[in-house]
């Protein structure tokens, strides 16, 4: 074991892990974080706390993670390279670990163009792969990125993202290999709607033996309505929502669409469970945290293992 992370313990014991996410509020509302956390208590092994997701300013992922930690939950700190340089990131990582946060996810982040501060500078001092290298070096060598010694290093369980649905497809496995070579311990993928394409990506992953070097958590998102399905299909870069999913949602009356979305989600998890190399699930129920328990339960993933 590299860390004390609950997520690492669950994965190392061979259980299918379950993570979910909590988007911090756009205002000083700590109770909102607690409320979202409550829905996930006992339901997941770690709770991703997003970092200014979609480039919109929110409560910092560090602060929201600390609140969840105070509640006895296991936050997973997301850090994007868009908003901070390497000094700020390392400071936050030390701070996070000092507050009991031992699991993190290294990301580039959505471009500022998509958010509410399109006029802001994009920092990108280092990229997500270089961030992974930096955190690993902090943890394993006790050294800052600049080379100086770091006292009592943060023992972070290091995560990274992978999007099997972006282009060029042939680079997608190689990019994962780079993230693992840099030091990623686990991966959370983009939301999977096109299971066939995901299977094809996993074939590539297995052919390089990458599933043995790192835990891959498959990304799942329940769709609330046919409108949401169309939006993700047409408007979100790097999302692959097959037409048949849109049609299935459209075939239901409006009030039955949320239920259909959850059903699609459960079916997807069942298919993914059969794919060699899938080590768990990352359920991204955007502003729908209250449904995560039902999904995890219906997917046969409750109760969560005690490790």
């Amino acid at each position: 074991m590299k860390t004390e992370s609950k997520l690492e313990k669950v994965l190392a014991a061979g259980h299918l892990a379950v993570t979910s996410e909590c988007g911090p509020p756009r205002g000083c509302m700590p109770d909102k974080v607690r409320e979202k956390g409550k829905y996930l208590e006992g339901v997941v092994d770690a709770i991703n706390v997003t970092d200014n997701q979609t480039a919109m300013v929110r409560m910092s992922s560090l602060a929201a993670s600390a609140i969840l930690r105070q509640e006895g939950l296991n936050p997973l700190l997301q850090v994007v390279s868009r908003d901070r340089n390497r000094l700020a990131m390392q400071a936050d990582i030390i701070g996070a670990y000092s507050l009991g946060i031992d699991t993190m996810l290294c990301l580039s982040g959505d471009h500022t163009k998509f958010g509410d501060h399109p006029m802001a500078a994009n920092v990108h001092d280092i990229d997500s792969i270089q961030m992974i290298q930096m955190v690993k070096r902090m943890r394993d060598e006790g050294l800052f990125q600049g080379g100086a010694e770091l006292k009592n290093p943060p023992k972070m369980f290091i995560g990274a993202a992978a999007n099997p649905f972006a282009d060029p497809f042939e680079l997608r496995v190689l990019r994962l290999a780079k993230k693992i070579a840099a030091g990623a311990d686990f991966i959370q993928t983009q939301c999977i709607f096109n299971v066939d394409k995901f299977e094809k990506w996993m074939e590539g992953v297995r052919s390089m033996g990458l599933h043995k070097k790192c835990y891959i958590l498959a990304g799942i998102t329940p769709i609330k309505s046919v409108g949401a399905a169309r939006y993700m299909k047409n408007k979100v870069p790097g999302m692959d929502v097959p037409q048949e999913i849109v049609d299935r949602m459209a075939a239901q009356p409006k009030e039955k669409q949320p239920e259909e979305g959850i059903t699609i989600c459960i079916e997807t998890i069942e298919r993914l469970k059969k794919i060699e190399g899938v080590a768990g699930f990352h359920i991204m129920a955007i502003d729908w945290e209250e449904k995560v328990k039902e999904i995890v339960e219906r997917a046969g993933l409750l109760p969560r293992p005690v490790v």
């Binding site: 994009n122 972006a166 190689l174 780079k178």
Partner: protein, 222 residues
């Protein structure tokens, strides 16, 4: 080359409104090539300014001159005899030229007529695109001759983000994904191995990180 675009006429008029006589100075280098501040553009802007002020019931005398190179003190010196009786200078060079004129003539206000944009190349007639950010430590040899720092919206140094779609960047279909271009090129060259190597965190000191930069060539410096 350095590319630039002319500022809106209204903004330029606000600069020169208090004056009766100005000198409008073009540059024969990059801004001539990108049709923003060469001799031709100097002529057009001079009459544009005069007409606009005339319509507003005011008037201004605009002297015109285009220097061989406005970022070079040797050529800037040419302006000395033209400044007599001139209230202000408006420069149609890039930011380097504007500053060189301002440095030389301390008692004359100098105004920029252009917005300096980027170091780029001409993609086709009338279209210029960014190619270089002047990071000071060129990595084009590793990336198939395509710069991810200048051409990836997130300046990713290790491959395309999850927003790359059909060769386009997530910020818009009119922007190429630099890493899609790099990958195609590496394949053509049989250099796919270069992609697998991790590019380490960049030392920005060679770029803007260490503050304003200077090149001193001992063999040439006087």
């Amino acid at each position: 080359m350095i590319t630039a675009e002319r500022k809106p006429l209204e903004e330029l008029i606000e600069y020169i409104r208090p004056y009766r006589r100005i000198l409008l100075v073009g540059c024969n280098e990059c801004v001539t090539v990108c049709a923003a501040g060469g001799r031709k553009e100097v002529g057009l802007l001079a009459s544009g300014l005069q007409m606009a002020l005339l319509k507003a019931g005011a008037s201004i005398e605009v002297r015109e001159h285009t220097l061989e190179r406005q970022c070079d003190p040797e050529y800037v010196e040419e302006l000395v005899p033209m400044l007599d009786g001139v209230d202000a200078v408006m420069s149609m060079a890039c930011g380097c030229g504007v500053q060189e004129v301002a440095r030389r003539f301390k008692n004359k206000p100098v105004y920029p007529a252009l917005n300096t944009k980027f170091m780029g190349a001409s993609e086709r007639q009338g279209v210029w695109a960014e190619r270089c950010m002047g990071c000071g430590n060129c990595l084009l040899g590793e990336t198939g001759g395509i710069c991810p720092i200048a051409r990836c919206a997130k300046q990713l140094m290790n491959g395309p983000c999850g927003g790359s779609t059909n060769g386009h960047c997530e910020i818009g279909d009119d922007v190429d994904c630099a890493w899609a271009l790099i990958w195609e090129r590496l394949k053509e060259l049989g250099q796919q191995d270069r992609y697998v190597e991790i590019a380490p965190a960049k030392d920005w000191r060679a770029g803007k990180g260490a503050g304003p930069r200077k090149i001193i060539r001992e063999d040439l410096a006087e």
